[in-house]
């Protein structure tokens, strides 16, 4: 029990007993099993690697071989209480879309992201002029799976754009206890190596309300239903 990963321990604290949980990128199912054992959750995993899927099945977990970029659209609205996306948002092709999908599928999302504004990252870039390799970002630029890195400030800005509420936030660092933080404090954008967020919607999800019908081409569909264009967040 002492060997629980720090981020898992933090997620375990956030999740309500008996909740319905979707874990995206659940790997070998360690977190889902922990949540099932400790919180009696009704869990569903999504994992891309065949080894991960086999490991989850051996643990008796429900797991679908698939990925967050392609397979979230098929889950019904509010099918889960929590959607968990641990350290993989920056690996998604469409993080903005994934984030809004998480909060369509679930009432709350648990998302952790490495902070590109961390002082070690800034220092590596400033002093050596090379892509940083840190504890949270260990791989060289040519092999990293991280294609959409962001700073804490970038992330909170995106949450505002998507009208998401930050219910809780903790700073995580390898081998150290989690520290609750206010992610909007500029100092945290220097100090936090990885941040774990508990997010929820400010307003009801679009799909829950009856969407305007567009059968005859008279009514324009709302902006939120239009496919997300890449690069929009950069302009904002």
């Amino acid at each position: 029990m002492s060997a629980i990963r720090e981020d898992f321990a933090e997620i375990l604290k956030l999740v309500r007993p008996n909740a319905r949980v979707l874990d995206i990128g659940c790997e070998d199912g360690e977190l889902l099993e922990l949540l099932t054992r400790e919180k009696n959750v009704d869990g569903q995993g999504l994992e891309i690697s065949p080894e991960g899927v086999a490991a989850c099945l051996a643990r008796g977990l429900a797991v679908v071989q698939g990925d967050g970029d392609r397979d979230l659209d098929h889950f019904p609205t509010r099918a889960f209480d929590y959607a968990i996306l641990s350290k993989t948002l920056q690996q998604m092709r469409e993080p903005r879309h994934v984030l809004s999908e998480l909060l369509r599928i679930a009432d709350q999302a648990v998302v952790s992201v490495p902070n590109f504004g961390h002082w070690k990252v800034r220092w590596a870039l400033l002093s050596r002029g090379r892509m940083p390799e840190t504890g949270a970002l260990p791989e060289p630029w040519w092999s990293t799976p991280n294609i959409h890195l962001c700073t804490l400030r970038d992330f909170t800005t995106l949450c505002d754009e998507l009208d998401l509420r930050i219910d809780a936030c903790a700073s995580l660092a390898e081998g150290k206890p989690a520290r609750p933080i206010d992610p909007r404090q500029p100092i945290e954008n220097w100090r936090a190596e990885t941040a774990l967020f508990l997010l929820s919607r400010r307003a009801e999800p679009q799909a829950a309300a009856a969407p305007p019908r567009n059968l005859f081409g008279e009514v324009e569909l709302p902006e939120a239903d239009a496919p997300v264009k890449r690069g929009r967040s950069r302009k904002a």
Binding site: D42, A54, L57, V63, V64, G66, H74, F75
Partner: protein, 385 residues
């Protein structure tokens, strides 16, 4: 009126032919009624006191109830005997395993070769067209007759997997878990096209005699063999065929004629000729038709998820094979998405193999591992030690 013939050999614990009285007809999707209905079946293991350990295994197009029993015609071991037995995935010590011959089949269940009570001659083409739904309804009748309310699991590959999906749609309350391997929720145009080739081959055989060959004492063996040969290609992958045969010759040198020069030709001819010994040509027509008519979403306004909304308590395991081009992985993904859409808990894995559709009969360690993990977890949840 029901009669059970206990035949016990090997690990079998029962089976034979279950005869339903004429007052209990099988109501068919076409509107017709089939009576009297007979179901050929085998059982392995024993039903526990709580009646909570029954597993129904559904067979594929040309399979039958000889799941883990020596086949009476070919003398070969059961078609899934590597999964059924002490210490294996389906352990008779733990489960009561049932396998039935589908209605329309030719190994003991009522089919086109059975006697039509109206004429006292084989049905032939007077046999009503049947569907996957009819097969499942007949299975449900037998399950009830055996005194079972709920199946611990329905398990099947290919057409068997389609029956499992139909079970989830039609009898969700009788299902605890479901395993669907290398199947699809509907037959594609390509699937139908291959079946049509097979049917035309049978019907082009002069010995088919418009389906009345049994009365004439002949069988359309050539046509059926060609049908089997064409279908068999779809069960294998190109890579598997290449690995197994390549361009290897049967003998030294070419015959400069139309003998089976290539090993692959000889193999296919053998598949064809050995098939006709154990299968009825009209059964092949009827069962392929049932497959072609299969489109689970069609009954639910074209929305597959609607088929599963009453099965939210059922735990699903859906598996596909990466090299299966008969029911390729996207077909299984569609099933999984519909299950997720319906709010069902589902597991899905694509098993990497180059053995094609038939991988489901073959030694595929990842398939074993996956099924073992899933069933063990479900058995645990069901309280089956």
């Amino acid at each position: 009126m029901t009669a059970q013939t206990p035949i016990t050999a090997g690990i079998e614990t029962g089976g034979g032919t279950w005869r339903f009285p004429a007052s209990q007809p099988l109501r068919l999707d076409s509107g017709a009624r089939l009576a009297p209905l007979e179901i050929g079946y085998k059982t392995y293991g024993r039903l526990n006191d709580a009646k909570s350990n029954a597993v129904l295994v559904c067979h594929a197009l040309t399979g039958d109830q000889h799941l883990a029993s020596t086949h009476p015609v070919t003398g070969k071991p059961g078609w899934w005997d590597r999964f059924v037995g002490p210490g294996l995935l389906l352990d008779p010590e733990r489960y009561f395993i049932i396998c039935t011959n589908v209605v329309g089949g030719c190994m003991g269940s009522t089919g086109p070769a059975s006697t039509d009570p109206a004429t006292n001659a084989p049905y032939g083409l007077k046999f009503p067209v049947i569907t996957i739904g009819d097969m499942v309804r007949a299975q449900a009748m037998l399950i009830e007759a055996l005194g079972i309310d709920t199946l611990f699991a329905a398990v099947g590959g290919s057409m068997g997997g389609m029956q499992v999906l139909q079970w989830a749609a039609d009898y969700p309350e009788k299902l605890f878990s479901a395993v669907c391997i290398a199947a699809a929720a509907r037959h594609s145009a390509q699937n139908i096209a291959f079946h049509e080739v097979g049917r035309q081959a049978i019907m082009a055989d002069p010995n088919w005699m418009s389906g009345a060959y049994l009365a004439a004492g002949v069988r359309p063996e050539k046509g059926l063999a060609v049908a089997r040969m064409a279908a068999h290609i779809t069960y294998l992958s190109e890579a598997a065929l290449q690995r197994k045969f390549g361009r290897e010759l049967q003998r030294d040198g070419l015959s400069w004629g139309f003998d089976a020069d290539f090993q692959v030709e000889s193999y296919l001819r053998h598949q064809g000729t050995s098939f006709v010994d154990r299968f009825d040509a009209n059964s092949y027509l009827y069962i392929t038709r049932a497959l072609d008519y299969f489109d689970l979403a069609a009954t639910y306004g074209g929305v597959l998820a609607e088929a599963f909304v009453k099965a939210r308590h059922v735990k699903f395991c859906v598996l596909s094979f990466s090299s299966d081009w008969l029911y390729p992985t996207p077909e299984s993904r569609d099933i999984v998405r519909a299950l997720n859409g319906a709010g069902c808990r589902a597991s899905f894995a694509e098993i990497q193999t180059d053995k094609g559709h038939d991988a489901f009969f073959l030694d595929e360690p990842l398939l074993d591992q996956t099924l073992r993990g899933f069933l063990a977890a479900q058995a645990n949840a069901r309280g089956l030690a």
